[in-house]
């Protein structure tokens, strides 16, 4: 114990030096996977080259994801005597310019800065807003994401300096029952999507008697459109690992396993390093901190199966079997991995536990609303202006999230998909819904792991339903009849509709299939796979009917159900669409109204994207309409 406290004291001192450098400036670069996708590694090279070229001395630290991914790549600089200043959408050239200006000339180029992490005075002095006052960040409450983007995820000392592992130390001094009590008071519900009270699982697992127990962290974030777990692990891995450690101690487990999907190699690398560092500091292994508690954490990678996010399928996967969910009871807390009691929780759940232990359960209650306490991370992506990773108290409305935090959509808002591929599409009239586990279910969706996909009028709900069911069909394990065949029936029907072969009875077929799947499937995947389709039919019935009866896709997505037309009254004759059309389907001279030949058009949308006047719209498909009329006569 003394050992860790001493280390922490030193770490705090070092952190202070970093936050307020005396002579060596510090450069931070957001290089989690999203940052890298935006080109952060090129920026890193540019920074190093610049430092070499100008013989500049600076510490360069790669940090994780701070949240607003639409601003990536993000580069921060702390000059001695100044707070940390953040620059957004940094290209290699821009980085070079900023580094040279700041480090050589002392000019931090306030006009290029996005935000800073200092005090109000600095804002007054420079005009740069505080980073956390930016519209996207201001309404957020950062509990789990507290360290993300600010610390070096590969340095355990940074974590310690932020109070890391004090939660664990407190747990060691208390007894397991008190830990569980603290969790109960906090009201933490499983953040993987089901919302089961966390303390109950921990209690069940503690009560189960066995010669060994496991703690498993579900980091198999399979929801397309969700990356909260990835960001957390890449930015602050110790938060998750400390949560697992506390879980192990409380339930009496001796082996922890973190199951990460294979598509997250950076997360795996960061975890490996973090675990090594825990060993070095005596936080893993035998007789941890002299408490008599033995625990080790192993990393296991998933192999590309969304269904392995379901806890019993995950356990099957760990046992070396096909990832097919098993009926419950028995529950994993009683009879899990290899038959032993297993505490299995989502990454974010474990990531939240340390702060609850550190600050107390009551502290957590102050966020959110009764029954849905605390905060949750969400990935806000799609057609919204400010995309990224956010953290808000539960109970905030969808409207606040999309419009206040997300900055709204450029084109008119149409729908929001919540909860991942097993969640529903909600329309504008549901935007006043507060995000809670119950309300999401009532609206025909789910909270899920936190994906929020924003769609505008250029998204077709029928196409989205088809996309999601296609996903479910591919990811279904195939074991039980309703899911295996039901997803296929829904897929066949939606494909038919999207091709223009929809029939009146298709809606009923889909409703019946959805009902059977929801009621009779073995696991959550089958039970919820029809949600996008069902909610789509519930809130956007007119769109489905237009596809079926009128053979028309208003959003101009389903290629067989529309054709493009240039509106004469809006066309300015700028010629942009002519130049991007790869099949020469548009003709027109400058300043003259352009014409689009529907028979050559391949519906690639390139022209729509460049037209500043929104002059190109989708209209019902005249060439195929006659064909369908004929078919209707026959049928």
């Amino acid at each position: 114990m003394n050992n860790l406290d001493a280390i922490r004291r030193q770490a705090l001192l070092n952190w202070d030096t970093l936050a307020q450098p005396k002579d060596t400036p510090v450069i931070y670069l957001g290089s989690a996977s999203c940052g890298r996708a935006a080109g952060a590694l090129n920026v890193y090279e540019a920074i190093q080259e610049t430092l070499d070229e100008y013989q500049l001395k600076a510490r360069v630290i790669q940090v994780g994801c701070i949240g607003p991914c639409y601003l990536e790549p993000l580069m921060d600089i702390t000059l001695p005597g100044s707070p940390r200043v953040s620059y957004a959408n940094v290209t290699p050239e821009k980085a070079r310019k900023i580094v040279v200006s700041s480090l050589v000339n002392g000019d931090i180029l306030p006009k290029l800065a996005a935000g800073h992490f200092g005090s109000e005075e600095f804002t007054a002095k420079t005009g740069i807003p505080r980073f956390f006052d930016l519209p996207m960040l201001k309404p957020q409450v950062r509990v789990i994401l507290k360290n993300c983007g600010l610390i070096d995820p590969e340095d355990i000392d940074h974590y310690l300096a932020q109070g890391g592992y004090t939660g664990f130390q407190k747990a060691l001094q208390a007894d397991p029952q008190s830990v569980i009590c603290e969790l109960k008071v906090s009201g933490l519900r499983g953040r993987g999507g089901a919302g089961f009270p966390a303390y109950k699982k921990w209690e069940l697992c503690l009560a189960a008697a066995a010669e060994m127990k496991y703690v498993v962290c579900n980091a198999d974030e399979g929801d397309p459109g969700a990356f909260m777990n990835r960001a957390l692990i890449e930015s602050d891995p110790h938060a998750v690992l400390e949560g697992m450690l506390i879980g192990g101690y409380t339930t009496g487990a001796s082996q922890g396993i973190i199951y990460v999907r294979a598509e997250y190699p950076l997360a795996v690398a960061r975890l490996k390093k973090a675990i090594q560092q825990m060993h070095a500091y005596g936080l893993l292994g035998e007789d941890i901190q002299g408490s008599g508690f033995n625990f080790d954490i192993q990393i296991r990678e998933g192999a590309g199966a969304f269904v392995c996010g379901e806890e019993t399928a995950l356990i099957a996967s760990l046992e070396g079997e096909r990832g097919m969910p098993r009926p419950r009871p028995p529950y994993p807390a009683d009879h899990g991995l290899n038959g032993f009691p297993t505490l299995i929780n989502n990454t974010e759940t474990f990531g939240t536990v340390p702060s609850i232990l550190r600050n107390g359960g009551k502290w957590f209650q102050q966020f959110g609303i009764p029954g849905n306490t605390g905060t949750k991370t969400f990935s806000l992506v799609g057609k919204v202006r400010n995309t990224g990773l956010i953290e808000v108290p539960l109970g905030m409305t969808l409207k606040q999230i999309v419009f206040d935090i997300g900055g709204g959509t450029q084109r008119p808002f149409k729908a929001i998909q919540t909860g991942g591929p097993l969640g529903g599409c909600l329309s504008a009239s549901q935007m006043d819904t507060a995000i809670t586990y119950e309300s999401m279910r009532d609206q025909g969706s789910i909270m899920g792991s936190g994906g929020l996909i924003v769609m505008d009028e250029s998204t077709c709900i029928v196409d989205m339903a088809r996309y999601f069911i296609g996903f479910a069909e591919k990811e279904s394990c195939g074991n039980c009849t309703p899911c295996r065949i039901g997803t296929r029936i829904l897929m066949d029907t939606l494909e038919k509709i999207v091709r223009g072969e929809g029939e009146a009875r298709d809606l009923d077929t889909m409703r019946r299939t959805a009902m059977t799947m929801t009621q009779a499937s073995l696991c959550g995947l089958g039970q919820a796979a029809s949600n996008p389709t069902s909610s789509g039919m519930r809130y956007f019935l007119a769109e489905f009917e237009a596809h079926i009866h009128d053979k028309y896709c208003q959003a101009a997505v389903c290629t067989d159900l529309f054709e493009y037309k240039i509106l004469a009254e809006k066309c300015s004759g700028c010629g942009l669409c002519v130049s991007v059309c790869s099949v020469n389907a548009i003709e027109g001279e400058r300043k003259k109204i352009h014409h689009l030949d529907g028979s050559r058009c391949i519906k690639c949308h390139s022209c729509v994207k460049v037209c500043a006047r929104h002059a190109i719209i989708g209209i019902p498909n005249s060439t195929r309409a006659a064909e369908w009329d004929f078919c209707e006569v026959l049928s």
Partner: protein, 158 residues
């Protein structure tokens, strides 16, 4: 004179370093083999089955369940287009069609010269950078069809 009593067994079971032969190591063993050559061969399946003392059907049944494992030799460069929701909304479908037509291959196929193989992946987790394409492990965000064409040209050059 041949004194030997026992046959020289070419079917001796393989050993895998770092593994102890427990059945729950199956997935890790498959990942190990796939990391060596980029795919799982019939020989691998036989070796793993011998090592774990389970049947080849069991090994194959597990391997064929997971999308990560492939049984055919991959191309020199692996192209993966993300088919996640955010990418789909940002016209990931277009990218998928474009790749297939540029390379002349379908999903899961390798170009005849063995240079590229094309796969789709459910989600790479970089949703705010949609649409995303991964080539040989390197992630490219905010991809458009033009950008993709240029990128592939860069890889085409030896």
């Amino acid at each position: 004179m041949d004194d030997s009593l026992t046959a020289d067994r070419t079917t001796d079971s393989a050993t895998f370093e770092g593994f102890s032969g427990r059945p729950d190591e199956l997935l890790s063993l498959l990942q190990y083999c796939q990391n060596q050559k980029g795919f799982i061969s019939q020989e691998n399946v036989r070796e793993i089955a011998c090592f774990l003392k389970v049947s080849e059907a069991r090994v194959f049944g597990v391997a064929s369940f997971y999308a990560q494992f492939r049984f055919l030799k991959p191309g020199d460069h692996q192209i993966r287009v993300c088919m996640g929701t955010a990418c789909h909304v940002q016209e990931g479908d277009q990218l998928s069609h474009e790749t297939q037509s540029l390379l002349g291959v379908g999903l899961g196929e390798t170009t005849p010269d063995g240079r590229f193989d094309y796969q789709e992946v459910a989600c790479l987790g970089c949703c705010a950078q949609a649409s995303v394409v991964e080539i040989d492990g390197k992630i490219y965000g905010k991809m458009t069809r033009e950008k993709l064409r240029k990128l592939l040209e860069a890889y085409e050059q030896p």
